[in-house]
């Protein structure tokens, strides 16, 4: 009896999951479309000013928000990628197995820190430190937010990189060492190239995590709508904009729909990145 019921239940669960995802996408897409009844596409994508509740006429340009998102993401990736990769190399190639058994779960535990806690740590310690180091009047800016979001993405990058490096077959290493290569030469010229697709995928997955991060940027990115001029400019990424403004919008208004359009752009960015990462991971296992 259960031979028939179990596969059926599993199939239902799968279809439900897929349906939910398609439903969310359609809802986002259709809600966004309605924003463009009143907002010109050219203004939305090329305008510098985002001010839906202006004193004069509302403006709907996402360039400053998009730049905020990309600036924070770039800092986060520049911070987390080398750190994650080096950690992964140490864990996979150098650390003794018992040490690795302790270190890897410990690093993965960073993923369990709620992002609001990271945000608080940023407000209390990192922002003042950055303000002091760079002689700024205020440490709430793209750099601070980028570093904290990078920390949040670190376990993803380190862990997937480690899987990629461990996945390189032992024979490559043995062959390299048998030819007289040193351990470092083996890592640099044999293991790393073989694991490159997986490492790229790890960084892409980390990017997916970074771009959607909301709480941290809401707390420490400085929330200013001006175009960022440097790493030390306060920014307001798209996620923070949605979180701040959705509370005051009237359901069904243009403002409300425009926030869904922001959500759709975030979704498409993440989707694209995850798609490429997925492609790379599967190429590796083939």
């Amino acid at each position: 009896m259960s031979e028939h019921i179990v596969p059926w239940c599993l199939m239902c669960a799968t279809f439900l999951t897929v349906l939910l995802l398609i439903g969310i996408f359609l809802f986002l897409f259709l809600s966004s479309l309605r924003a463009f009844r009143e907002i010109a596409l050219s203004e939305f994508f090329f305008g510098n000013n985002w001010n839906p509740i202006s004193y004069h006429t509302p403006s709907w340009g996402i360039v400053a928000l998009l730049q905020g998102t990309l600036l924070v993401s770039t800092v986060a990736l520049l911070f987390a990628s080398p750190l994650g990769l080096f950690t992964a190399i140490y864990l996979s190639e150098i650390a003794s197995p018992p040490l690795r058994e302790i270190l890897k779960p410990t690093i993965e535990m960073i993923a369990g820190i709620p992002s609001v806690v990271l945000g608080l740590l940023g407000l209390l310690f990192l922002a003042p430190l950055i303000a002091k180091t760079f002689h700024l009047s205020n440490g709430l800016n793209a750099l601070t937010a980028g570093i904290l979001v990078g920390i949040a993405a670190l376990p993803t990058i380190a862990s997937v990189c480690e899987d990629a490096l461990s996945g390189v077959t032992l024979r490559y290493r043995e062959a390299s060492l048998a030819l007289g290569a040193t351990r470092w030469t083996t890592i640099r010229w044999v293991v790393l190239p073989a694991a490159l697709p997986g490492i790229t995928a790890a960084i892409m997955l980390g990017f997916g995590r970074i771009i959607g991060e909301t709480m941290i940027v809401l707390m420490v990115a400085g929330n200013s709508l001006a175009l960022p001029r440097s790493l030390f400019s306060p920014v307001r990424p798209m996620t923070a904009t949605i979180a701040i403004e959705i509370k005051e919008t009237v359901i069904g208004s243009t403002h409300w729909h425009s926030l869904f359009a922001l959500g759709l752009i975030l979704f498409l960015l993440t989707f694209l990145v995850n798609f490429v990462a997925d492609f790379l991971i599967h190429r590796r296992t083939l």
């Binding site: 001010n51 004193y55 303000a131 205020n138 200013s224 709508l225 509370k247 005051e248």
Partner: protein, 303 residues
């Protein structure tokens, strides 16, 4: 860990929830939400009220006046705290939903302009404030200070203070470089740490428990046109409206509360001498004689 014991963890959040939800019978609830300016004041009032009526459960949350008003219109709360009057659009939505809005004046506030103590600027006019916050003036020397950039701190658009300050002082869009802070306390903290900063907060946020200006900030007097500058710390000037950015702060109800209801007794407590003493102790100012008359109209409707 076996497969079974892993799945046993799934209902854990539910069990925790059940453990937290101990007996709540025989109590009446009152939920209030909205203005961040009012959140500390209303919490103080609610705390004192709960001491007198132990069966009452009052909850106060912030989030901004617009958030509170949206929740009121959605029927989620009993009282919306708002540091500005409701807009015509919001009133129209209330009518559409059949909500018989009632306005209660809770206190008087002098919106205070805070600077860093090392800033040589000692007073500003309304025009200068407008220039600064709209981005027409970007350096302190433009308004009589040192040659340093002005760093603007303001609230997020959910805030009633954001709207009130924009509509009464800036009369233009805020400069896009303004940092939108989460709450009034965040503005005070930011200005305390920033020698070039300027911020606006309700007067309750600039005073300590003894009624003195808190350490690390200065509150400057503001002049209407070329008149003598007036300080928001001057109670009578704020209450008379001589301080140019003084305002009543409000609470909105979705209907006239029924006689004997918790809402009615809480409002009566707030309007009482004891309630208004808490208003003053929280750093704000007691309502004026006209406000009392205004509130009396609301109380007269209760039957």
């Amino acid at each position: 860990m076996s497969m079974h014991s892993r799945f046993a963890l799934l209902p854990l959040p539910l069990l925790l929830l059940a453990a937290c939800n101990s007996g709540t019978s025989n109590t009446t609830n009152l939920t209030m939400k909205g203005s961040d300016t009012e959140v500390q004041l209303v919490s103080n009032l609610a705390e004192e009220f709960a001491k007198r009526d132990s069966s009452a459960r009052l909850s106060v949350t912030g989030g901004g006046s617009a958030t509170g008003i949206a929740s009121l219109l959605n029927g989620e709360i009993d009282i919306a705290n708002s540091s500005r009057q409701m807009s015509d659009a919001e009133r129209a939505q209330a009518r559409e939903r059949g909500i018989d809005l009632q306005e209660f004046i809770l206190a008087r506030d002098g919106l205070s302009i805070v600077l860093h103590p090392t800033n040589p600027v000692i007073t500003l006019s309304m025009q200068q404030l407008s220039d600064v916050y709209s981005g027409r003036a970007t350096r302190w020397k433009d308004i009589g200070g040192s040659d340093a950039p002005i760093v603007l701190y303001g609230r997020q658009s959910t805030s009633g203070t954001f709207g009130f300050f924009r509509d009464t002082v800036v009369k233009d869009d805020y400069a896009s470089s303004m940092r939108n802070m989460e709450g009034s306390q965040a503005i005070v903290d930011a200005v305390r740490a920033d020698a070039n900063g300027i911020g606006y907060v309700g007067v309750g946020y600039v005073k300590d428990g003894q009624g003195n200006v808190r350490e690390g900030i200065t509150v400057i007097p503001i002049a209407q046109n070329t008149d003598t500058p007036v300080s928001p710390l001057d109670r009578e000037a704020v209450k008379r409206g001589d301080y140019p950015i003084s305002r009543p702060i409000y609470q909105y109800l979705p209907a006239v509360p029924p006689r004997g209801s918790l809402v009615e007794s809480f409002l009566l407590f707030e309007a009482s001498g004891d309630g208004q003493a808490i208003v003053e102790a929280s750093g704000f100012y007691a309502i004026t004689a006209e406000d009392v008359q205004q509130n009396a109209i609301l109380f007269a409707k209760i039957r």
